[in-house]
Symmetry: D2
Subunit: 139 residues, 4 copies
Amino acid sequence: MNSAMQMMQMHEKDMSMMGMDMAMMQECMEACSACEQACTMCSNSMTGESMATCMGRCANTADMTNTMMRMMMRPNGMHKESMMAMLQAMITMCGACAEECMTHADMSDDCRMCAEACRQCAMACQKMMDSMMGSMAGS
Amino acid sequence: MNSAMQMMQMHEKDMSMMGMDMAMMQECMEACSACEQACTMCSNSMTGESMATCMGRCANTADMTNTMMRMMMRPNGMHKESMMAMLQAMITMCGACAEECMTHADMSDDCRMCAEACRQCAMACQKMMDSMMGSMAGS
Amino acid sequence: MNSAMQMMQMHEKDMSMMGMDMAMMQECMEACSACEQACTMCSNSMTGESMATCMGRCANTADMTNTMMRMMMRPNGMHKESMMAMLQAMITMCGACAEECMTHADMSDDCRMCAEACRQCAMACQKMMDSMMGSMAGS
Amino acid sequence: MNSAMQMMQMHEKDMSMMGMDMAMMQECMEACSACEQACTMCSNSMTGESMATCMGRCANTADMTNTMMRMMMRPNGMHKESMMAMLQAMITMCGACAEECMTHADMSDDCRMCAEACRQCAMACQKMMDSMMGSMAGS
């Protein structure tokens, strides 16, 4: 476990007051971080005319995943509605990026692996949102 | 008009195919940029215990506005549903940040001015989203 | 004058203790912001094989200019040696990006305008660094 | 090994032409990523008046480490002199952030762990720069 994860656990109490599952959030942050890295690389290796959409969506996804990850690391700034709206935006963007990358997966290993990282990230965000919704319903 | 705005206009054709009003988008980008700057400064000047929420929300808003602005600058990566979901997240977050900053507006000029920049940004994003919804309905 | 600039002026005293000229720093922040926008757009419109270097350098420059601008907006975090090392990195990167963009300036208006924004940014950073060096020598 | 690391290895040939040791660069990227996370959290948990410098330096370091990591992920945009100037800026900033955090390490676990992440990052950047200098001398 790295130091950021240990730091998160020290703030567990603040998080759980927001109805957030700490283990799930750590998983989501790691998926975001892996997705940011894959998208940054994929975006940079797309050089053909036909790759313009892929390049643009990957660059957008890289920026969004970094922002999402940082939001999860700021217990003080946590605002439930904003967090859920951002998770929704992530699920939509990661899905669109994975879809585009998959159309080139046969020709490009970058795209194939990036699509997989986007899918993992979308799933982790969805899981997180479901859990937050559940805790809102229960409160 | 600065060079980025001139560059946007050269790509006007790509944008309008997405049902986006170029002038409105430029206005929105400028509101995002001003909001990022105000939130970065406000977040950094909040030092009291009672300012923790303000500091955290401002930091989140600064990161989100930069991401939003970059998404608008990438016609190739434009994906309408993702853009609208991100606009929705912006409106929610900017509103929550303005609300928090307003509670300290009497004591802090930073907060008063940051709240105003957040409100302007939320309004520009709302206007943009209304326009995109209108164009979807009409298509 | 926008609200971020007004906020900077309220913190003028903190800055001048660091030997920083406020007007020069505002000019530098605006040049960074314009450069980030131009590079984000230029990076996204480069789609040919021969544009790979241009795309990559522009993406690097966009990230660096945003970081530089944010560092100038945090009087509390100001550390003179780090600031000067970052200004030096900016001058080098903006120069390399302008140089690459200029090789395509005849074919691409994006590149021509981006090169100009990079040059302006490098000059503003150089001016800022010269001024900080002068104030260190004098202190 | 995560997907970003696998993607890096597929681009190993481009990197080694720049005189870069792939394993060392991966280590450096991971140290940057861990440092960004620790600094984002540490910056957000600093709420006392006496923590203003810590908060500001951590926020600067978080932004710089993300930029550094992204630059390493773009073989196409790699420009040796800019990379080395950025590594130098990183070493200086991470050192200053670690130094500040250490002054509160007794009172704050966040600061103690953040200082450690900054030190690791500075060392990884130094190692990378030494290796690049060696390869320049040898070429």
